[in-house]
Amino acid sequence: MLRQSLLKITVTLLPLLFAAGPAAARDDATAPSETAVQLADSSAPASSPPQGDNFKSLDEEVQALKKEVLDLNRELFVLEEELLFPANTQVAVFVSMDVGEFFALDSVTLKLDNKEVANYLYTEREAQALLRGGVHRVFIGNLKAGEHELIALFTGQGPNQRDYRRGATLKLEKGVGAKYVELKISDKAVKAQPEFVVKEWE
């Protein structure tokens, strides 16, 4: 952004300099002095940050509209969760990655009480987002209070670019509040192997 802005400065300042060349060369009636000025002007984009009034009023209208859409989005998101996944039955499963030296994630499959509830294939961009500290909510659903079994299957590339498939099982006790489960993929440096840890959050 900054460099982009700096380029704008550059281009904004350059026309002033550009005007110099032809001015120095102007020594004859047929010298295209006027065209030189035109060239200088054409090199100048609308300077940043000054903007026209029309643009500003339309821009203000657009910003107000965007704000409304953003607010509505948030309301819809909240409503969706409250309506479809009430807190007392809600269960959500998250995937996170720590370092990822020994494992490149391709997909995650989830089974809840022996029923497949999610099968997610990660794009390169999503995998990168995980590596940088993002956490992906791979599943959200409802569960009755009581004991349940969660099985997670991870596929990807392990050490030495070999196909890798690992599972993790968790017996989870669903209480009255929402239950969050984190499936954390981390590196076990000592063994040069990935490690899959399941962690419960309340």
């Binding site: 952004m1 900054l2 460099r3 982009q4 700096l6 400065i9 550059t10 300042l13 350059l14 300099l17 550009f18 110099a20 060349g21 001015a23 120095a24 004859d28 009636a29 047929t30 295209p32 006027e34 065209t35 035109q38 060239l39 090199s43 984009p45 609308a46 940050p49 643009f55 339309l58 821009d59 657009v62 910003q63 509209l65 965007k66 859409v69 953003l70 509505l72 989005n73 948030r74 819809l76 998101f77 909240v78 409503l79 969706e80 309506l83 479809l84 959500a92 996170s96 961009r125 990168q128 987002a129 995980l130 590596l131 940088r132 500290g133 993002g134 956490v135 992906h136 909510r137 984190e182």
Partner: protein
């Protein structure tokens, strides 16, 4: 352009200090983790927000962040979340909202590093909104150094703001304070030196500027970005020397500009002017003829069409000069016609669709940039226009509006599902109520309470009267009753009868044994009875509490369902209304940008017309001279061969 977008993202990441501490060293151009700001995801939903943020999906990130804050799920990242929210609003062009959030972070309860970053971003907001004084003040409010790449960016922004305020000396000092002039071969340093150089040129301190621009003009360019900067430095210095009437020096630096690059056309044109200034018209022709074969869309190329005949005329090759002017007039006319076609295509409303369809990105964002301009009649003349801030802003707005329309269309489908869900809730409740009522009817909590109170009274009486028999087991009570019955029978019998006496003695012994047992176990039984009563009390109260909850839920559930129904019902008109406004505003944006584009094309046409006029004038002048010379020479041949 993608690189530029990434840099923006990186900048925002760094600014927010949410670069993953686990970024791998072997992975290329990852932003460095910030020293002193280790980022550990302590709330899963914070990580969920980052997941979308890192993908550049700002709309989704902002939506999830807002929802997570509503649900109070990011409490461990309160300040960080606000900073990110401000950044996201800024990235979506919501300057006011972003400014409000950043301002709220400027209090003593917020750590200094966060405050500094808030000042920095506020400075950016104000800069973008053209409040330059406020921006300068905000930048001056930063205490100490900002983390990572934000520090150089801060100083460069400060210099930029000061330059816009025409405070060049201060701008130079700001840059020098941060980066000793002439030191460092990194990108930031090169930009800094370039900017100082340009500022010095504007101050007409060309000698000082030359020192810096010369350095930047000879850096080892390890990337296209640096190579482009090097070209710009050489071009800027070249023009500065031309203006200072030092064409020889100008040529030296202009020759450093790459022959194929964004600045090459201007450099070729200027190189020609440098030779021309030294009256070396033959030499000037070389770069100008090279230029003439390039794309006529470029203004420098257009100007070469006039410069070439001008040089021929100076060389007294009037025939060639005339021929070149004729070629120029024809070329300008053809070009002008193509511009007319472009204007027509834009008037037909094809401009923005041609541009937006060409972009593959699917995220909204204020920093959105075109990757490649499609080659179409609507767009081919607009390279220059596309680079302008105003057009870019408008274009991004247009694209954001279209994306938001699609986003709302998706929600509109979900609303139908919400409606169904509300119905399901209603039906499920109606089905469950009879069973629930039956269960509730089978339980008399008041009777239970009476019974419990009675038991408590009895135990209290037992304790008060020290009635040890009251806590006897049923077997013991039976035995005790029998003893009492036996004693009653024996009391009526002949007391002198030895058998009766023996029986009475046995009864007395049994009575004594029983009382002994009762007394011995009384304390323990009393404690146990108390404990059981306490447990009964707890169980009773729990039953009462649950009963209240069930009763309340029975009342609340339908109300909550109806509240959901009300919220769901309010959505379609809101979505519909907003969609209509999005459509109307997108069209207004389209019209506005089309008008801007047409204005730009008209000005290009005017420039071509002016060029054309000059060419015709020059041509007429040549013909005049030829005619005069013919008359003077009484029919002598024209050596220049003007036709």
């Amino acid at each position: 352009m993608p690189g530029r977008c990434n840099k923006v993202l990186v900048a925002v990441l760094l600014a927010l200090g949410i670069t993953s501490a686990s970024a791998k060293e072997k992975r290329p151009p990852e932003p460095r983790p910030l020293i002193g700001t280790p980022q550990l995801v302590r709330d899963l939903h914070w990580g969920d927000v980052l997941f979308y943020f890192y993908q550049g999906d700002y709309l989704q990130a902002l939506t999830r962040l807002g929802a997570a804050q509503d649900f109070e799920r990011v409490s461990h990242h309160g300040v960080e979340a606000e900073l990110l929210k401000g950044g996201l609003y800024l990235s979506l062009g919501q300057h006011e909202e972003a400014g409000r959030i950043f301002k709220a972070l400027l209090n003593d309860n917020v750590p200094l590093d966060v405050r500094n970053r808030a000042w920095f971003y506020l400075a950016k907001v104000w800069y973008q909104r053209n409040y330059l004084e406020e921006s300068a003040i905000a930048l001056a409010s930063i205490r100490g150094a900002l983390p990572g790449d934000l520090e150089p960016e801060r100083h460069l922004l400060e210099a930029q703001v000061l330059m816009y305020l025409n405070r060049y000396d201060e701008a130079i000092r700001a840059l020098e304070r941060w980066q000793p002039v002439g030191k460092g071969g990194d990108v930031w340093s090169s930009y800094a030196r370039f900017n100082i150089g340009v500022a010095l040129v504007r101050q007409e301190r060309v000698e000082e500027a030359a020192e810096l621009l010369n350095e930047v003009g000879q850096i080892a360019a390890s990337s296209e970005e640096l190579a482009a900067l090097r070209d710009k430095a050489n071009l800027a210095l070249g023009f500065a020397w031309l203006k200072a009437n030092r064409p020889e020096d100008a040529k030296k630096v202009l020759q450093r500009v790459r022959l194929e690059g964004p600045q090459s056309n201007k450099a070729l044109l200027a190189a020609g002017w440098a030779d021309s200034a030294e009256k070396k018209y033959n030499k000037a022709l070389a770069p100008w003829l090279e230029l003439r074969d390039r794309d006529l869309l470029d203004a420098a190329v257009q100007e070469s069409y006039l410069a070439i005949p001008y040089a021929y005329a100076q060389l007294a090759a009037t025939g060639q000069a005339a021929q070149q002017y004729v070629t120029a007039v024809e070329a300008f006319a053809a070009e002008s016609q193509r511009i007319d076609q472009s204007i027509q295509a834009i008037r037909d409303g094809k401009l923005l669709d041609a541009i937006v369809e060409n972009d593959q990105g699917d995220q909204v964002g204020w920093y959105w940039q075109l990757r490649n301009l499609p080659d179409a009649p609507e767009t081919r003349y607009l390279y220059h226009l596309m680079a302008t801030h105003e057009f870019q802003e408008g274009l991004k707005n247009y694209r954001d509006l279209r994306l938001m329309q699609r986003n709302l269309a998706t929600w509109a489908l979900s609303v139908q599902a919400f409606d169904d869900m509300v119905d399901t809730r209603r039906r499920a409740f109606d089905q469950r109520v009879p069973g629930l009522q039956k269960t509730l009817d089978g339980v008399d909590l008041d009777a239970m309470e009476t019974h419990k109170n009675e038991l408590e009274s009895r135990l209290a009486a037992t304790e008060r009267d020290d009635d040890v028999t009251a806590l006897a087991t049923s077997r013991e009570k039976e035995q005790w009753t029998k003893v009492q019955q036996i004693e009653a029978v024996l009391a009526k019998a002949d007391q002198n009868d030895p058998m009766v006496q023996e029986m009475r003695e046995k009864a007395r012994l049994i009575r004594g044994k029983l009382l002994w047992d009762f007394n011995g176990s009384f304390k323990a039984r009393q404690w146990r009875a108390r404990k059981e009563l306490r447990e009964l009390d707890v169980a009773y109260k729990e039953a009462r509490r649950r009963s209240v909850l069930v009763e309340r839920a029975r009342g609340d559930y339908p109300a909550r369902t109806e509240e959901f129904a009300r919220r769901v019902a309010s959505l379609p008109p809101r979505i519909g209304g907003l969609s209509a406004r999005l459509e109307a505003t997108a069209q207004a944006q389209n019209r506005y940008l089309a008008a801007v584009a047409i204005k730009e094309l008209e000005s290009q046409k005017q420039r071509l017309a002016a060029y054309s006029l000059q060419a015709r004038f020059a041509l007429a002048s040549i013909y005049d001279k030829a005619a005069t010379s013919n008359t003077a020479g009484e029919g002598g041949a024209d050596k220049g061969g003007a036709q």
